[in-house]
């Protein structure tokens, strides 16, 4: 608790300048010029932020720091209004600083200015926030298979673990804990959380039933989905509320000097004055006191005042909140006081503008008056309770009342005057207004101090219903004056809203923000918004049509807003036009320039693409209405009241020990990271059998991120701690046993895993046998003993990755007859002669198809025996490939084939015969292509295309164009550009039998290895330095998933061809290929090139490098004067291999 207050980056506003590209190359990034500074923040806390500008910040959650009123914007249909304290989930952030976010309280989605917000993720709730993101992604992602997802309640675990974490961190996990017992409010918050959770669980259960077709009556799954998302949001909001409440209680326990109010009010008046004089008021001083540890006794009362009032504001998070503190009279007093001050402040702020329209002024005054009247009502309520101090209080109250009257009249006068001569009220006429406004503030402060004194004497009491307004005057006089000009409301509003926010920020509160005052039509008398709101909350009326409202909400959630605007400029009027213009231009530039994810900060690339598209659109999409507040809160309130037994269930679920919060997921719901205990938990969930891909990935790669001993330990620990939750211990323990069994049976690697046996054996003999039927324990002991004796239980070739039984059955129908080898009599004779040690048949003596087949068999036998372990951690690159015999054999065979091809061509002296050899190889390559043997194909093609062979122009001239044309598709496939695009595309559609090019997989695996770090930080989105340090380091499971995916892809093809081996030809092949390999040439390529030059010398006059080398290094001058030049050059270089 203590450090959370200071930890919370309350002054950090989400990304302002999103130039992550400030690093090295100035010339590197094309978007440099499109950077723009977003409009000024309403507060001048810009200094605080400026240092942050360079570093990238994407915050998943924002909390509104200022109310944002979008009604004056052109884009009010795509932007969202904000109340102070609102929590937003961010989907993407545009460079202009607008964020596409979802308001948790309502679920509505729209654009909001990030400079009105601050990042929100206190440590306690971080897990829950993160879980909400995952939950959201999971339920909203189109790529998730609903049937699979909803068949169990597995996907709820993240949320539940998040809640658990929150309660644990706030000391509220147990109902009996002192924190909960001490305070009613906390108890209530906690109860709300659990009841919301139980209704979430209930919705999930309905979904489950729906999937099984047993739900009666059936519901639209989308409705339930929406409901669950909303519930999840509600849970988070309640969590926020809990934190706020605790925070506040902590503050309340601090020394109570907060109550001294007189001087304080002076302070705020003075600052309001400041505000009127010079707009950019240094705010950070006051704001920073927010995060000051409240235990410190602060000499300056101002600091206390601010911190206390802010904490009140914070406690009122979210529109749906209706908690007890609101009903305490002291709370209501300070709330209404804050509201009043904020309205007056915003009004004063407006006055300082050069001009403003009449309706704006009228509505501002009305806000002031209404909040003033609410304040008076509270004062009255206190007055009726207390009798002793009535006189002083009554006096103060009447002064305040009078001041408000003055203000309203002054406003009316100036409105009337404005109506008569000009549209805009000029600043010089504002002096009177200013005077009365500051008078209001002062007298209000006075009055509040008196009331607080009274409350202190009386003791705090609850106040639910408010009497009607204490201010009896007809505000419609203002409307009368304003109405005439109403139509001409100019879009000065743009700058105004910002300034409203600014001044509200100083004294601001979330209670009736300007937005509320704007919504009612200006023609009607001012409604008593706050009072009405309160009574509504007190008696929640059931919503008329629940499914409908849910549905409409869902559709709103799905529709993406489009935006082509900039933040409302906060500057003064004269600069605003220019700035607006400028920023729009920049905006369109971004849209038209080559957009990359660098332009956007987004949680994932998918969204960023979407938002990119949406920003390009120039016409605003009208589907998004500015949120009419749906009745979610009421809904949940009514729904959750009856579910006591489900609450109990949730309670028990919350008690379960879990590591789910240490898992990370991607959009598809796959695990991308997690601590070892969390991964093990995932492997052994009670609800569903583990995902097979996850399981086999784990079996294959676990040695890369933990030791076998550690794994065994963790598994045993899992076995033990699940015993506390009888609900699932049986299933989980069986899964733990199954994991051990699978490990010992098929995935055991004695050389590394043996060390774990000392743990596994006693476990199997002891605890396992006790907890599960004795047979399981015996079986495990038996297995363990067998592996320890060194016998491999299952032939290692059968590896589970990628090979399903169906795949094998499909492609190797064992009854299909093998194609008979094609060998003519002469060919067979030639081979026989070779066998007898006589004449060695040349390549031309063998049938090309049969040669391709035999090559394929030869290669496939090696390829099929590649073990998955050989492909891990770039082992084939280490120690000369000792640990990876098959990978090594495969690469040397492929290279051998290439060299053999070159030799057969180059060592055929007669040109016609040489052309025939090339032709023969083209035929063989074609057959390889047809056999889907891409490894041989590439081996042959790389030689045919190499400079050594392709430069033999005269030889190639003897080959028919038709023959050469058949090379084209082969060339395409063997083209390495675009990351083997052509080859990948072909492999993708192939089923075995097929022999892919091993090198491609090796490259992929290498890059997965070096391109992905071994661990991930659980930062839950925010990337600020200190937070990163505080995050949990977990296994980057995503990296291993990628590795396993590639290996699985490779294993998909480890299925032998149905071809008959021709023993004689195999032998001949080996001799041919090995013959080249063992010819003792140091550099076959160079040797071959030399031969090639000898066959067909250079045609043109060779160039001679005449220029002397600038340094007297003993480099041999490379002379190419004659075509024997290579000889001198080559020789000298071979003799001195490293003239460096």
């Amino acid at each position: 608790m203590q450090d959370s207050g200071s930890n919370r980056p309350s002054l950090q506003v989400a990304p302002l300048a999103l130039n992550r590209l400030n690093k090295g190359g100035t010339q590197q990034y094309p978007y440099k010029q499109s950077e723009m500074t977003p409009p000024q923040t309403p507060s001048s806390s810009q200094e605080d932020l400026s240092e942050d500008q360079g570093s990238p910040t994407f915050h998943n959650f924002l909390r509104a720091h200022y109310p944002f009123d979008n009604s004056a914007l052109d884009d009010s249909n795509i932007t969202m209004p904000l109340d102070r304290g609102d929590i937003l989930m961010v989907h993407s952030i545009h460079t202009t600083g607008w964020a596409d976010g979802t308001l948790l309280a309502t679920g509505s989605r729209g654009w909001v200015p990030t400079n009105y917000c601050e990042s929100y993720e206190p440590e306690e709730i971080r897990g829950l926030l993160h879980a909400l993101i995952n939950f959201w992604d999971l339920l909203r992602s189109p790529s998730v298979d609903d049937r699979e997802l909803f068949s169990s309640q597995e996907y709820l675990r993240g949320m539940i673990a998040g809640i658990r974490h929150l309660l644990q961190r706030t000391n509220c996990l147990h109902k009996e804990s002192s924190t909960v017992q001490r305070s009613d409010l906390v108890r209530r918050c906690r109860k709300e959380i659990t009841s919301e959770t139980s209704s979430l669980v209930r919705a999930a259960r309905r979904m489950q039933e729906l999937q099984h077709g047993t739900l009666d009556p059936p519901q639209d799954p989308n409705d339930i989905c929406d409901e669950m998302v909303l519930k999840a949001c509600q849970i988070v909001l309640k969590g926020v509320q809990l934190i706020d409440t605790l925070e506040e209680e902590r503050r309340n326990r601090a020394p109570a000097s907060v109550r001294v109010m007189d001087t304080v009010t002076e302070g705020s008046v003075a600052s309001s004055f400041d505000l009127a004089q010079s707009l950019p008021l240094p705010l950070n001083r006051r704001l920073s006191s927010f995060s000051r540890p409240p235990t410190r006794t602060e000499p300056s009362p101002q600091g206390h005042r601010v911190s206390s009032s802010l904490s009140h504001r914070v406690s009122l998070a979210g529109p749906s909140s209706y908690t007890r503190p609101q009903f305490l009279v002291s709370e209501r007093l300070s709330r209404s006081h804050d509201a009043f001050l904020s309205h007056i402040g915003s009004f004063i702020g407006r006055l300082s503008l050069q001009s403003q329209s009449c309706p704006e002024l009228a509505s501002a005054i009305k806000q002031c008056a209404s909040s003033g009247s609410e304040l008076l009502a509270v004062v009255d309520a206190v007055g009726t309770h207390s009798h002793s101090n009535c006189a002083a209080l009554a006096l103060a109250r009447s002064i305040l009342c009078e001041r408000i009257h003055e203000l309203v009249h002054a406003a009316r006068d100036s409105l009337v005057q404005a109506a008569s001569d000009e549209d805009l009220i000029m600043p010089h006429g504002n002096k009177e207004l200013l005077m009365s406004a500051t008078g209001c503030v002062r007298s209000a402060g006075d009055c509040i101090a008196k009331v607080r004194n009274a409350i202190e004497r009386l003791g705090d009491f609850e106040l639910v219903e408010l009497e009607s307004s204490g201010l009896d005057m007809d505000l419609s006089i203002l409307d009368a004056a304003a109405r005439t000009r109403e139509r001409k409301q100019s879009h000065v509003g743009l700058s105004e809203t910002a300034s409203v926010a600014e001044s509200t920020g100083t004294t601001g509160s979330r209670t009736p923000g300007p937005r509320h005052a704007h919504t009612p039509s200006l023609d009607k008398p001012l409604p008593e918004i706050p009072a009405m709101e309160l009574s509504q909350e007190a008696n929640p009326s059931p919503p008329p049509s629940r499914p409908e409202s849910q549905h409409s909400q869902g559709s709103r959630l799905n529709s993406l807003p489009k935006l082509s605007t900039t933040l409302p400029p906060a500057a003064t009027e004269n600069s605003h036009d220019h700035e607006y213009l400028h920023s729009t231009r920049v905006d369109s530039m971004i849209a038209s320039s080559a957009g990359s994810s660098a332009t956007y900060l987004s949680r994932d690339s998918e969204t960023s693409i979407v938002s990119q598209a949406s920003t390009r659109a120039t016409t605003p999409d009208h589907t998004l209405v500015p949120r009419p507040k749906p009745s979610v809160s009421e809904l949940s309130a009514t729904a959750s009241s009856t579910l006591t037994e489900e609450v109990e269930e949730v309670e028990s679920r919350l008690m379960e020990k879990t590591y789910v919060h240490e898992l990370m997921f991607n959009k598809e719901g796959h695990v991308t990271g997690g601590s070892l205990p969390a991964l093990v938990e995932r492997l052994t969930t009670h609800e569903a059998a583990p995902d097979t891909v996850f399981l086999s990935t784990f079996y294959l790669t676990f040695r890369l991120f933990c030791t076998p001993t550690k794994l065994a330990e963790t598994l045993i620990d899992r076995f033990d701690y699940v015993g506390d939750s009888p609900r699932m211990s049986g299933a989980v323990r069986l899964r733990v046993y199954n994991f051990f069994k699978g490990w010992l049976e098929t995935h055991w690697r004695d050389e590394t895993d043996r060390e774990a046996l000392v743990l596994i054996l006693p476990f199997a003999e002891g605890r396992l046998s006790h907890a599960l039927p004795a047979a399981t324990g015996r079986r495990l002991v038996e297995l363990a003993k067998r592996v320890s004796s060194g016998t491999c239980l299952v032939p290692r070739l059968v590896s589970s990755m990628g090979k399903t039984n169906t795949a094998i059955a499909q492609h190797i129908a064992s009854d299909t007859p093998l194609p008979p080898p094609i060998t003519s009599k002469t060919q067979q004779n030639a081979l026989n002669a070779f066998k007898a040690g006589g004449y060695t048949p040349s390549i031309l003596d063998i049938d090309p198809l049969e040669l391709a087949r035999q090559l394929t068999i030869k290669q496939m036998s090696i390829f099929s025996s590649i073990m998955p372990e050989e492909l891990l951690a770039q082992k084939w690159m280490k120690n000369g490939g000792v640990e990876t015999p098959h990978v090594k054999a495969m690469s040397s065979l492929t290279t051998g084939i290439s060299n053999w091809v070159a030799c057969t061509i180059l060592y055929t002296e007669e040109i016609k015969k040489r052309a025939a050899v090339i032709k023969q190889w083209i035929k063989i390559a074609n057959h390889c292509y047809e056999l889907h043997n891409y490894d041989s194909l590439l081996a042959i093609m790389c030689t045919l295309q190499s400079t050594t062979i392709s430069r033999l122009r005269k030889t190639w001239d003897l080959i028919s164009t038709r023959r050469k044309d058949t090379l084209k598709p082969l060339q395409e496939v063997s083209d390495t550009s675009f990351n083997y695009k052509a080859l990948r595309a072909r492999l993708h559609e192939h089923v075995s039998p097929c022999l892919p090019f091993l090198g491609m997989y090796l490259t992929d695996l290498s890059f997965v290895e070096v391109g992905n770090p071994a661990t991930r930080q659980m930062t839950h989105g925010s990337e600020t330095g200190d937070q990163r340090a505080s995050g949990l380091t977990v296994v980057n499971f995503d990296k291993h998933s990628l590795t396993a995916k590639i290996i699985g892809e490779l294993q998909r093809f480890q299925i032998p061809y149905r071809l008959a081996e021709h023993a004689d030809m195999q032998e001949w092949l080996s001799v041919q290929i090995d013959g080249v390999r063992e010819s003792g040439k140091v550099n076959v390529q160079r040797e071959n090139y030399r031969k090639s030059l000898a066959l067909e010398p250079r045609e043109t006059v060779p160039r001679t490098t005449l220029e002397p080398m600038p340094t007297p290094t003993p480099t041999p001058t490379t002379s190419r004067g004659d075509f024997f030049g290579w000889m001198t050059r080559e020789r000298s270089q071979t003799n001195t291999p490293a003239p460096l």
């Binding site: 991308t672 084939w876 690469s891 550009s977």
Partner: protein, 214 residues
């Protein structure tokens, strides 16, 4: 081509070569890896394509790095043929890796049949100073001899990663500006090749010290 949008951007093929284990794939991954992509999947088409600006000009780089396939010696010819510029990477902790790039360079010049093919020499793992086997001066002298800039980089600390690619781009752009003069040297009269070479050297000198110290 997705890369061609507003201004005609040039597309270059760069081949990264070096012995196994010198960390050249780290270098490539560092360079093409967009930090905002949480996981790096090298199996997709765009994995090795990147866009950058060199001296105000838009360049698309298609990088061919055949890490992990060093044993497939015969394939090298095929890889090299596609390249227009070459990053020769060795490790400053391995003398043998420097010798390896010497033979790679010979092969490149043979295959491209061009002495002036754009090359950048990169001494990687510069963060492992305590294990250094190749003195910096050695690197410089090779650089002078080959008339190719020398960088000492570290993929781990992200030092000089972008710089070496950018330098290579500059060389390729320059060569292209010369009207592809170096593309078909075999058909050129002798003096032209000589001139072009000389011109290039002059420019090199004017550019000043090409070797970059850390």
């Amino acid at each position: 081509m997705p890369a061609r949008r507003l201004q005609p951007s040039r597309e270059f093929h760069v081949v990264v070569l070096g012995a196994g284990g010198v960390g050249k794939s780290c270098l490539t991954a560092q360079f093409v890896h967009n930090e905002w992509v949480e996981s790096y999947d090298p199996t997709i088409e765009d994995s090795y394509r990147t866009q950058l600006q060199v001296d105000g000009r838009q360049v698309v780089l298609e990088i061919l790095d055949t890490a992990g396939t060093e044993q497939f010696v015969a394939m090298r010819d095929l890889y090299m043929k596609t390249g227009q510029g070459f990053l020769l990477v060795f490790s400053i902790t391995s003398q043998a890796s420097l010798e390896e790039i010497a033979s790679l360079r010979d092969e490149i010049i043979r295959i491209k049949d061009d002495e002036n093919v754009p090359i950048v020499i990169v001494g990687n793992k510069a963060d492992l100073e305590e294990n250094r086997q190749v003195p910096r001066a050695r690197g410089f002298s090779v650089s002078q001899r080959w008339d190719a800039p020398y960088y000492e980089s570290s993929a781990r600390t992200r030092t000089n990663v972008e710089e070496c690619f950018i330098d290579l781009c500059r060389q390729m752009l320059r060569q292209e500006d010369e009207g592809g003069a170096d593309d078909s040297p075999t058909h050129k009269p002798e003096h032209s090749a000589y001139d072009s070479h000389k011109r290039r050297r002059r420019r090199r000198l004017r550019d000043g010290q090409r070797c970059v110290l850390l």
